[in-house]
C-alpha cells in the first residue's frame, strides 16, 4: 500500500492511494495518513483509483480521518474508486460522511 501527496495547499490536500487497503495496507499508511490529517487542516481529496481492495479496517481508517476532518469543519471526498471499492463504501454507509466523486468537477463541488 502506498500513499502519495499529489498536491498540498492552504485549501486542499490531494493524496493518491494505491494497492490493497486491508490490515497490512492500513498498517503501512495509517500513521502517515493520520499525521497529514492532523497537520494539514485542509479538505482532503483522496484519489482511490488505484486501490484494488478495501477491507473493513480500510473503511475504518477513511471514516476516522473523515470524522476527524469533520470535527474541524473540513471534508474528505473520495475520487474515482474502482467499482468493487465503491460498492464497499456504499454498502457500509460511509459515503454519507465521505462523498464519492467520479471526476474533478464533481469533487470540487462536493468540497
Amino acid at each position: 500500500m502506498e500513499l502519495k501527496v499529489i498536491r498540498g495547499d492552504l485549501r486542499l490536500t490531494r493524496i493518491a492511494l494505491s494497492g490493497k487497503l486491508d490490515l497490512e495496507g492500513e498498517g503501512q499508511i495509517g500513521d502517515e495518513f493520520k499525521h497529514l490529517v492532523d497537520t494539514s487542516k485542509t479538505n482532503f481529496l483522496v484519489d482511490m483509483s488505484q486501490v484494488s481492495y478495501l477491507a473493513s479496517l480500510g473503511i475504518r481508517l477513511l471514516f476516522t480521518m473523515a470524522k476527524s476532518l469533520a470535527s474541524s469543519g473540513k471534508k474528505m471526498v473520495v475520487l474515482n474508486p474502482q467499482p468493487m471499492v465503491e460498492e464497499t463504501l456504499m454498502n457500509s454507509g460511509t459515503a454519507r460522511l465521505i462523498p464519492i466523486a467520479h471526476d474533478e468537477d464533481q469533487a470540487s463541488r462536493l468540497l
Binding site: 473493513s56 473503511i59 475504518r60 476516522t64 454498502n91 454507509g93 460511509t94
Partner: protein
C-alpha cells in the same frame, strides 16, 4: 580433521618443503661450486703441465743444443789430435783415412739411441766440404746452396770468421719435406777445418718431448681423477652433512611444531568445548580467555555472546511463556466465541418446518464474524449474520457485545429495523475508535413465509428460489452499525415459499483470493449456489466452504468466512 592435526600437517608441510628446498639448493650450489672448482683445478693442472712441458722443452732444447755442440766439439778435438800427425794439404789423402772419416763424418743418434737424428761433417774455411756422410757432397762448396738454404749458408759463412756458431735453418729433403735443423759449428783448433754438427729437430727432440707431453698428460689425467675423486668425496660428505643437518632440524621443528600447534589449538578446542556446552543448553558456559590475541578476543567475544545468549534465551523463554499463555487465552477465547455461536441446527426443536445451517471460520484464532438465530415467539425466527470491523480479540469482544445486544434487543422489538437501530445506538456510545459492525438481520414467519429484514451495511444475501432463480436482495438501506448515532435501518419484506432458501454470507467469502489475486466474487458465488440450489442446506454450506478453500489454493485466509443458509420447509 581436527584443527590441531591440520595445523600440524600444514606446519610439517611447510618445514618439509623448506628443508627439501634448502637441501636441493645447497646440493645445487655445492654441485656448481664443485664443478667450478674442478674446472679451475683442471685448468690449473693443465696450465701447470703446459708450463712444465714448455720448460722441459726449453731445457731439453738447450740440453740438446749443448749435446750437439758438444758432439761437434768432441769431433773437433779428436780431429785436432789426429791432424797433428797428418798433412792437411791433400784432401784426397785425408778423405781416404778411415780413422779421420769415422770422426769427421758420422751419424748423430737420438738421445734414446734408437734412431739417427743428424750427422757430423767437416768443411774448410772456404766452404768446401771435406768430409760428409754423402760422399758426393765432398769437394763441393757450401756456397752453391746459399740461395737454396740461405739460413744455413749464413751460419756456414759466419763460422769462417767466428769461433763458435750455432743456429737453426729450414731444409727441404729430396722428397720435398720441410724439416727444421739445428747446426753447431766448431773450429778444429790450428786447422782450416770447421766441424758441423747438424740434427733434425723433429727427430732429435720431439720423441723426448712427446714422452714428456705424454707423461704430463698422464699426470694431468691422474691429477684430475684425484681432484674429481676428492671433490666427489667432499660432495658426498657435504650431502650427508646437509641431510643429517636437515634431519636434526626436522626433528627440532617437529618437536616445536607439536608445542606450537598445541598452544594454538588448545584455546580453540576450549572454544569448541564451550560451544558444545552451549549447544547442550548450558548458556552460562565460559571459556578461558587465553592464547594468541585474536583467539583471546574470540574467547572474550564468545563469553560475551554466551552471556547475551543466556539473557536472550531467558527473555525468549519468558516471551514463549507469554505467547503460550496468550495462545492459551486465545484458544480459550476461540472456544468461548465458538460457544457463543449456535451449533444445534436441525431439526430445531418443535420446528421441523425450517431448515437452517451455518458455519464460521475465523482467519485468526478468534474472528469478528458471527451468526445467530433464535425464536422470538412460536412462529417467528429471528436470525442475523454480521461482520465486525477488524480481527482478533478486540473484534471478538465487539462481536460478543453485538450478539448480546441483538438477543437482548429482540425482547423489546421484533422489527429488525428497530432492533438494529437500538444496537447501533448502543455501539455508537464512546466509539472513539470508529469500530463498526455490518449486520443483516431478519425475522421469518414460519407460517406464511413472510421475511422482514433490515440491513446495516452488510452484503445482501441471496434468495434462492430454484436453480434458475438466484437473486440478491436489495442493497443495504442502512449503514454499518456504530458509525452514525442517528442511523436508520428501513425494513424490507419478501416472501419465502417452501423449499426456497435464503443464503447469507460475509465478505470473507466473496473477497477470498486465488494465487493470481482474483477474487472469489459474488457472481461466482451465485453461480455455485445456483448449482447446489436443491441440496440440503448443510450440504450447500459445507460445499461452498470447500469451494472457497479450493479457490484459495492454500493462500492465507485474509478474512473470517461465514455462511448461513435458511430454507423454509424441510428438505427431503
Amino acid at each position: 580433521m581436527k584443527i590441531r592435526t591440520r595445523l600440524m600437517l600444514s606446519y610439517l608441510a611447510i618445514i618439509l618443503l623448506t628443508t627439501v628446498g634448502m637441501v636441493f639448493l645447497a646440493n645445487k650450489m655445492v654441485d656448481r661450486l664443485t664443478s667450478e672448482n674442478l674446472d679451475t683445478a683442471s685448468e690449473a693442472v693443465s696450465a701447470l703441465a703446459k708450463a712444465d712441458n714448455d720448460l722441459s722443452e726449453r731445457i731439453l732444447t738447450k740440453f740438446g743444443e749443448k749435446l750437439v755442440e758438444t758432439k761437434g766439439h768432441e769431433a773437433a778435438a779428436l780431429l785436432s789430435l789426429e791432424f797433428s800427425k797428418r798433412d792437411l794439404q791433400d784432401y784426397d789423402v785425408l778423405r781416404k783415412d778411415e780413422e779421420l772419416r769415422k770422426i769427421a763424418a758420422q751419424n748423430i743418434f737420438t738421445p734414446e739411441g734408437d734412431g739417427i737424428a743428424g750427422h757430423i761433417d767437416v768443411f774448410d774455411t772456404k766452404g768446401v766440404a771435406v768430409w760428409h756422410l754423402n760422399s758426393s757432397v765432398e769437394g763441393r762448396n757450401y756456397a752453391q746452396w746459399k740461395d737454396e738454404f740461405p739460413a744455413m749458408w749464413n751460419l756456414v759463412q759466419r763460422s769462417f770468421t767466428e769461433d763458435k756458431v750455432q743456429g737453426y735453418y729450414t731444409f727441404i729433403t729430396r722428397d720435398n719435406k720441410v724439416v727444421k735443423k739445428f747446426m753447431a759449428l766448431s773450429h778444429v783448433p790450428g786447422t782450416p777445418f770447421i766441424v758441423s754438427a747438424v740434427v733434425e729437430i723433429d727427430k732429435y727432440f720431439l720423441p723426448v718431448q712427446e714422452q714428456i707431453r705424454n707423461a704430463d698428460k698422464k699426470a694431468v689425467q691422474k691429477a684430475r681423477a684425484s681432484i674429481a675423486q676428492s671433490t666427489s668425496s667432499t660432495l658426498e660428505q657435504a650431502r650427508l652433512l646437509s641431510l643429517g643437518g636437515s634431519l636434526v632440524l626436522l626433528g627440532c621443528t617437529v618437536f616445536f611444531g607439536f608445542w606450537f600447534t598445541r598452544s594454538m589449538s588448545r584455546p580453540i578446542m576450549g572454544l569448541r568445548d564451550g560451544v558444545k556446552q552451549i549447544g547442550a543448553g548450558d548458556f552460562e558456559a565460559q571459556v578461558p580467555e587465553r592464547g594468541p590475541e585474536e583467539v583471546k578476543q574470540l574467547a572474550q567475544t564468545f563469553n560475551n555472546l554466551g552471556r547475551q545468549l543466556a539473557q536472550y534465551v531467558h527473555r525468549l523463554a519468558e516471551a514463549a511463556a507469554a505467547r503460550q499463555r496468550m495462545e492459551s487465552e486465545l484458544s480459550i477465547a476461540a472456544e468461548i466465541q465458538k460457544s457463543l455461536l449456535p451449533t444445534n441446527f436441525s431439526p430445531l426443536p418443535g420446528h421441523e418446518d425450517v431448515d437452517i445451517y451455518a458455519l464460521m471460520q475465523p482467519a485468526q484464532n478468534v474472528g469478528g464474524d458471527f451468526y445467530d438465530f433464535f425464536f422470538i415467539d412460536e412462529e417467528n425466527l429471528c436470525f442475523a449474520i454480521g461482520d465486525v470491523c477488524g480481527k482478533g480479540v478486540p473484534a471478538a469482544i465487539l462481536m460478543a457485545v453485538t450478539k448480546s445486544l441483538l438477543e437482548t434487543g429482540s425482547g423489546e422489538s421484533s422489527d429488525p429495523g428497530q432492533l438494529l437501530k437500538q444496537v447501533n445506538r448502543r455501539l455508537f456510545v464512546n466509539n472513539e475508535n470508529c469500530v463498526f459492525v455490518t449486520i443483516f438481520c431478519g425475522v421469518l414467519n414460519l407460517k406464511d413465509g413472510q421475511l422482514i429484514y433490515a440491513n446495516g451495511g452488510h452484503d445482501s444475501p441471496m434468495l434462492v428460489r430454484g436453480q434458475e432463480s438466484v437473486e440478491f436482495l436489495a442493497p443495504p438501506a442502512g449503514p454499518a452499525l456504530g458509525l452514525f448515532e442517528d442511523a436508520v435501518f428501513p425494513t424490507q419484506q419478501v416472501t419465502l415459499k417452501p423449499g426456497e432458501t435464503l443464503f447469507a454470507f460475509t465478505d470473507g467469502v466473496t473477497e477470498a483470493v486465488d494465487k493470481e489475486g482474483h477474487f472469489f466474487s459474488k457472481q461466482h458465488l451465485a453461480k455455485l449456489v445456483s448449482q447446489q440450489a436443491d441440496s440440503p442446506v448443510r450440504h450447500l454450506v459445507e460445499h461452498l466452504f470447500k469451494e472457497v478453500e479450493a479457490f484459495s489454493q492454500g493462500m492465507d485466509q485474509a478474512d473470517d468466512i461465514t455462511i448461513m443458509a435458511l430454507r423454509l420447509g424441510k428438505t427431503a
